[in-house]
Every structure is written in structure tokens, then in C-alpha cells.
């Protein structure tokens, strides 16, 4: 069953004319049917036109089938909201309303997403209520009323060196009844700038969608450019890209393990991991000169080859970082006061996680067995697989332990790949971009699934380039994890998700 969708594989492109365009009723019904049958929404977005918008839905089949599906429909100024029966769509529908000025009828939580101007001419839905200008975090927050209920507001500027966001807690004493998160402060108009692209600036914008996820977003963009240009990255280039992706995961997982330790006041692991994170970043800098992989991935391959001396040095440094990281992290499991602080805190049930569509380590810590590297393999992961790790306790402890187990698998992977780099060229020259096509690329960043969709026009320019960062799926998970927790648990829960503001805000 493919529910009226065109099915295809990750990293491929097809004619836009091949995308099924059912009428509204069959489109929405088949989206619901597919979700009931276990499909999951990877991207759901609108392309505005004079009368309304065309909505595109990209879905992933249940694990094991390896296929993706796409269908689309044209709507007028309104479309039916499915968020009540299908919570994973709720934010997508708000985003469509904000970007395309079409209203999801019956949406239960109709609020701005990024406080951005629409992609088409006209005023947004919320302009009238706040005096004409759309000011960030100016909206109706959910409120709990009653004796001794109070509200705590935090942000946009936070106490540490952190990106901006606004948090509203509804509290009863120390207990949090509800947390609502308002983002959009980092909105810098990436999707609007991509209309009419690619330009020489495009790759740099892709590298900075989320600066700590440069490889995963860069890989998705390169896959789209390669499938639209009819070229391939060589096995050597794909291997180096895979190594860089896992180094990115390692740096961030190591940093998160340290930050979680720091938030429970366990300073040894916190100090050690803060430094070890830098060791992984420096391994990336060994490959390309930049600790954040800038310049490494380019359509058609990689910008810098990994010669034998670099591979040897990388292998040596990995061995020593592995020992350091293992020693630093083991202290956590051996310290009962640390574990007691992590266990049974910030639980998101498997059912909730599935319903709101969590991805990445946050989902796997709830027992959801999903990972793009295995489910929709791309690049080197078509040849060499990394085992998927899951946990079942759904709490901060699960998200912590999972990071370490994933880090181990990633180190094993690099260990093997760096010693067996395929020979051959590292960069094929990109050709033009094919016109009137749709390309879809999924990758597994360290926070989870990344989805890029390119729709080209008759000149081979992007009519729309849609980006979904894993944080788009997961911020709701953080909100849910705080329910009935102490407000003092917030920093810990927040670190255990460590979501991106800029990746969400685009």
C-alpha cells in the first residue's frame, strides 16, 4: 500500500509532473490512512500561489521498507486541520499558515511559529492582534488559573552562552503543569533566500542552517544537487563525508554528556567532556581546517581530500579520544548520586513520542527504533551500517546512556573506515540543475532526521527549497518532558534534548 503516493528512494529526484495531485478530500484522507498504517511525516509544506497554496506531503514508510512517498494537493484560502487526530502535523500546519497565508480550519493551537513575514505578499494572520507588527513571542500563551498557580517567563536572552528563545512555565509551587516555548528569534530568512537559488551563496547558507550540524545539512543539500545534476560523489568522498558526519555526532554527544553532568553538579565528567568535545572538533579541523566542517562538503564530493598522513593522524587521535571519553563517562554510571538524579526525570512516554513524531536520540530513548542511516540509507551508509541503539526508560538517564552507546558505535565506524579509505577522486564537477524536478534527501544528523526538499522551476532554479531540522519535531518533546516535574529539572531536561534554535527558526 502506498496510499496514492508516488514512492521513491532517499536521495533521488523525479519529474514534478509525476507527483500525484489528488483532490483535497482524497489527499487528506490518504495522509490520515497512511499515518494510521505506521507511516510518518518527514515534511509537509506549502508553495504559495495567487489563490492559495499547493501542499506537499513527504512520508516515510515503516522501518524495513526503505521507501518514501510524496503527494500534493492544491488548496484555496483554507484547508482542513488534521492536528487534532494527528498531533505530529500540528506544527507543520501552523508553519503553512504563517508562510503561505492559508488557514488550517479547526486547528486547536493556532499560533505563529517563527513570527516571520509570509513567503507571499499580504499580511499574516496574527498582525491585527498585536498592533500591526509581528513581534516575537507576542501571542496568547496557554495559562493555568487558580490559587498559588504562578507563571515563570525565561528568555529570549538566557544566562549562559546560548541561543535565544522564550519559555513560559505554568507552575504550582515548584511543580510545572505546562511549559510553552516561543521561538523565532533566530529567524534569518533562509528559505526565502533560497527561492531562485542555487547561487554561489547557497552552500554557505546550507552550512549555517544549524552551525553544529553543518555536515548533516550539507550532506542533504549535496544529495539534492547531485540527484538534480545527474552526478555522483565518489566512494572516497562518501566515506570522508560519513567520517565527518560521525565526528560531528561524537563532538556533540561528548559535549552533551559533559553538559548533563554539569547540570547535576558532577564536575569531573563535565570538565573532561568539555575538553574531549574539542578533541573531536579538532579531528574535523584536521580534515578541512574548520572545527565546524566548513568547506568540507561540496556538491559532487568533498572540498579537501583525506590523504594517508591525515588518515593515520585521525586514527591515532581517535584511539586516544576513545580512552579519554570512556574514562570520563564511566564515572557517571559508577556514581549513584548522579544516576539517581537522571533516572525517572523528564519522561516522555513511547506513545506520546510516536504521536508527536519525535526523531533522533530523543525518539530512540523512548524505544522508537528509527534512524535514517538504516531506514533510508544514504552515502556510505548504503555500504556500511551502524547498529541502531534504543532505550526503554524514556527519561533523562535513557537519553544520556543512549548518547554514550551511539558514540561508541560511531567511533567503531570511523575506526574501520579511516583505515580502508577507497581510492579514487574526491570531487566530481557539478553540472547544471535539472528543471521541473523534485528532489528529496534525508540524513541522520546528531539530533535526528533532516529532510531537504527541492522543487525546481522551468529554468532549473528553486521554486521552493524546504528544510526540516530535527528540532522542528522535537521541541514539543521537551515541553512534554517537563509536565509534573520540578521547575529545577528544566536545565537538565533541556540539556538531555539539546535542541537547535537556529535550525528551527531558519
Amino acid at each position: 500500500m502506498s496510499f496514492g503516493m508516488k514512492t521513491f528512494y532517499n536521495g533521488t529526484s523525479f519529474l514534478r509532473g509525476d507527483i500525484p495531485m489528488p483532490d483535497n478530500d482524497s489527499f487528506f484522507q490518504s495522509v490520515l490512512d497512511a499515518i494510521s498504517a505506521g507511516w510518518r511525516v518527514c515534511s509537509y509544506f506549502g508553495v504559495p500561489n495567487a489563490e492559495g497554496a499547493t501542499l506537499y506531503c513527504i512520508m516515510s514508510a515503516r522501518a524495513g521498507r526503505g521507501v518514501l512517498g510524496i503527494s500534493a494537493t492544491t488548496v484555496g484560502r483554507t484547508f482542513p486541520s488534521l492536528a487534532v487526530v494527528c498531533p505530529q502535523l500540528h506544527l507543520y500546519e501552523r508553519e503553512i499558515a504563517e508562510q503561505c497565508l492559508v488557514r488550517p480550519e479547526g486547528h486547536p493551537w493556532f499560533k505563529p511559529v517563527r513570527f516571520q513575514k509570509p513567503l507571499c505578499a499580504g499580511d499574516g494572520f496574527w498582525s491585527a492582534t498585536d498592533g500591526g507588527g509581528l513581534l516575537p513571542a507576542v501571542m496568547d500563551f496557554y495559562r493555568v488559573e487558580g490559587d498559588e498557580v504562578h507563571e515563570v517567563a525565561v528568555g529570549p536572552v538566557h544566562a549562559g552562552i546560548i541561543e535565544p528563545g522564550h519559555f513560559r512555565f505554568q507552575c504550582h509551587g515548584e511543580e510545572v503543569f505546562h511549559l510553552e516555548i516561543a521561538l523565532g528569534f533566530q529567524h534569518r530568512g533562509i528559505e526565502r533566500a533560497l527561492i531562485g537559488a542555487p547561487t554561489p551563496r547557497t552552500m554557505h547558507q546550507m552550512e549555517t542552517i544549524a552551525g553544529d550540524t553543518t555536515v548533516a545539512h550539507g550532506q542533504a543539500y549535496c544529495m539534492n544537487m547531485e540527484s538534480l545534476g545527474g552526478i555522483f560523489a565518489s566512494p572516497r568522498a562518501e566515506t570522508v563525508r560519513g567520517i565527518a558526519l560521525e565526528l560531528e555526532r561524537l563532538a556533540n554527544h561528548a559535549g552533551d554528556l559533559g553538559a548533563i553532568a554539569g547540570d547535576v553538579g558532577y564536575l569531573p565528567t563535565s570538565s573532561f567532556c568539555g575538553r574531549i568535545r574539542g578533541d573531536f572538533l579538532n579531528m574535523t579541523a584536521l580534515l578541512c581546517g574548520s572545527r565546524f566542517s566548513r568547506g568540507l562538503l561540496r556538491p559532487g564530493g568533498i572540498g579537501y581530500d583525506c590523504d594517508a598522513s591525515i588518515a593515520d593522524e585521525l586514527y591515532k587521535r581517535l584511539q586516544s579520544a576513545r580512552e579519554d571519553l570512556a574514562g570520563a563517562v564511566e564515572l557517571l554510571w559508577n556514581t549513584p548520586s548522579v544516576m539517581a538524579r537522571l533516572e525517572d526525570v523528564g519522561i516522555v512516554s513511547e506513545k506520546d513520542a510516536r504521536e508527536i513524531g519525535l526523531v533522533g536520540p530523543a525518539a530512540r530513548a523512548c524505544g522508537l527504533n528509527r534512524d535514517v542511516r538504516r531506514d533510508h540509507p544514504f552515502g556510505i551508509f548504503r555500504m556500511s551500517q551502524i547498529p541502531v541503539v534504543t532505550a526503554t526508560t524514556c527519561d533523562v538517564a535513557a537519553r544520556t546512556r543512549l548518547r554514550w552507546l551511539e558514540a561508541e558505535r560511531s567511533m567503531d565506524f570511523i575506526d574501520e573506515q579511516v583505515r580502508h579509505l577507497p581510492r579514487g577522486g574526491y570531487r566530481n564537477q557539478p553540472k547544471g540543475v535539472a528543471s521541473d524536478r523534485c528532489a528529496v534527501a534525508l540524513t541522520e544528523g546528531w539530533r535526528g532526521e533532516i529532510c531537504h526538499v527541492a522543487l525546481t522551476d522551468e529554468r532549473g532554479c528553486f521554486e521552493r527549497y524546504k528544510i526540516v531540522d530535527p528540532s522542528f519535531h522535537n521541541w514539543n518533546g521537551l515541553g512534554l518532558s517537563l509536565r509534573n516535574q520540578q521547575i529545577s529539572d528544566f536545565p537538565l531536561c533541556n540539556k538531555s534534548f539539546n535542541l537547535s534554535y537556529c535550525g528551527f527558526d531558519l
Binding site: R114, F115, Q116, K117, P136, P156, V157, A159, G160, I161, I162, E163, P164, G184, F185, Q186, H187, R188, G189, I190, R192, A193, T199, P200, R201, H204, E207, T208, I209, A210, G211, D212, T214, P268, S271, F272, G274, R275, G278, N282, A285, L286, C288, G289, S290, R291, F292, R294, G295, Y304, D324, G327, A328, E330, L331, N334, T335, S500, Y501, C502
Partner: protein, 252 residues
């Protein structure tokens, strides 16, 4: 407890020697651009045309504005004469916006120290409030690194603090998105006089990869007065540290 002590012993002392000894950087690190015009052909503009952000001017003398530069080296790749290369010199910060322009054939001068009363006030203790205003979180990440044990910024009397009321200055990253402009100005207003502003990264200097997007203000210049510019995308932690240490006259 015993295990923690043994781990501590094994991990050892890892704080770097800088500034007493040079800090090694990877061979592929892209720092101060070097331009050798003797290699250039007359009228060749390949490097200037290759820059997506217009950092290079080839009309008249060859110049590169590090405030616009993402250090991507597209220009060096495009140059047919190997006249433009990036060195591993990370000492790049400047006290003025104009000072970030590297002119071919001239020695680049990194920024100097605060003067008079400001140096007396902040030279031995400088507290900064960081404001992230629309960037990609890479500048923030490599600023955070300075507080880890490897860099140990605190040993120089410099510290990032949690409130503008505790701060002597503001440290800005990001191109200043319209959605963060008000929060940035409010934070600045909340810092007691006299105060400094330090901007780090191509975004905060000039808009970076998001230059000229309608949603951003092309950096903090024009919103607040700036005392120190730290270029890079993102700047290396060493570039940030070197800039800060020059500002408080620990490095000359």
C-alpha cells in the same frame, strides 16, 4: 571517589600554554589571508569574482575585507596564479571596522589595547554578557569553549556572566535578526556605563552568510557602538582569545 581521583590523574593537566607559548593549529586552518600581487596578471579579477560576499576588491590595490570573509577559500581556489593563500595566523581581531581590511603588500596589524581609564577599569577584570542574535550557534559554541579547562579564560580575569547588570560589556554573535534587535538593545541598555561591545563572527560584523536578507540587520554596527571586531565563520577560539587578550593588554 577513588575512581574519580584515578580518572582525574589519567586525564592530566590540559590547560594550554597560550599566550606564553604558541598554540598549534591544524595545517589546513584558514587564518590571515596573504596576497602576493607580484604574481597577479594585469586586470585579473578571478579572486574578486569568486567571492560570493564581495570581500575582495581588485580595482586599484588588492584588498580583502575580513569582516565580510567566511574564510571559505573559494578565492584561493579560483586564483590561477597562487597569489592568494590563507595562512595559519589566527591573530585577526581589529579595534575598527576599517582595520579588518587586509591590503596586499602591507603587514596586517591586529587590534590594540583599551586606552586610559577603560584599561584601568577592565584590564584586570572584564565581565561580558553574551547575546546571540540570529546566527547559527557555531560562534556561540566556540566562545563557550573558552570557558572549558583547555582554554580556561578565567585565568585572565575574563568571564562570561549571567546578567547584563553584572557585566562590563556585551559580546554579540549573529547578524542581529529583526526578531532579536529589541532584546539586543535592551541588554545593552541594562549594562552599566562605561561599557564595551565586542562582536564575533562574520554575521555580527557584516551579516555573514545571511548578508542582505530582509530579516537581518547585517551585524551589530548601526545598532550599538562596537569596540572590537573578531572575524571568522566562526572565529577560531584562538582568534577570540587573542582579540580579548590584546584588548586588555595581556598580549601586545
Amino acid at each position: 571517589m577513588l575512581k574519580a581521583i584515578m580518572a582525574r590523574f589519567r586525564q592530566g593537566h590540559r590547560t594550554m600554554k597560550y599566550p606564553d607559548a604558541p598554540q598549534p593549529l591544524p595545517p589546513r586552518f584558514r587564518g590571515l589571508p596573504l596576497m602576493d600581487v607580484t604574481r597577479c596578471d594585469d586586470g585579473c579579477r578571478e579572486c574578486a569574482d569568486a567571492c560570493p560576499y564581495g570581500a575582495i576588491s581588485a580595482s586599484g590595490s588588492l584588498t580583502l575585507d575580513m569582516g565580510k570573509c567566511l574564510f571559505c577559500a573559494d578565492c584561493a581556489v579560483a586564483c590561477p596564479h597562487d597569489a592568494l593563500t590563507f595562512s595559519t595566523d589566527a591573530r585577526l581581531a581589529s579595534r575598527s571596522r576599517k582595520g579588518l581590511t587586509v591590503v596586499a603588500g602591507e603587514q596586517y596589524q591586529p587590534g590594540g589595547a583599551l586606552e586610559g581609564e577603560l584599561l584601568r577599569l577592565f584590564g584586570r577584570s572584564l565581565k561580558l554578557r553574551e547575546v546571540s542574535a540570529g546566527g547559527c550557534n557555531a560562534c556561540e559554541a566556540d566562545t563557550n569553549v573558552l570557558s572549558t579547562i583547555g582554554w580556561d579564560l578565567g585565568r585572565f580575569g575574563i568571564q562570561f556572566v549571567a546578567s547584563p547588570r553584572h557585566a562590563d560589556g556585551m559580546f554579540v554573535t549573529g547578524p542581529v535578526s529583526e526578531n532579536m534587535r529589541l532584546a539586543l538593545l535592551d541588554t545593552y541598555a541594562a549594562i552599566p556605563e562605561p561599557k564595551l561591545v565586542i562582536v564575533a563572527g562574520a554575521c555580527a560584523i557584516n551579516g555573514g552568510p545571511f548578508k542582505d536578507h530582509a530579516e537581518v540587520h547585517n551585524g551589530a554596527d548601526g545598532c550599538v557602538p562596537v569596540d572590537l571586531y573578531i572575524p571568522g565563520c566562526p572565529p577560531s577560539p584562538l582568534t577570540i582569545l587573542d582579540g580579548l587578550l590584546r584588548l586588555v593588554d595581556i598580549v601586545q
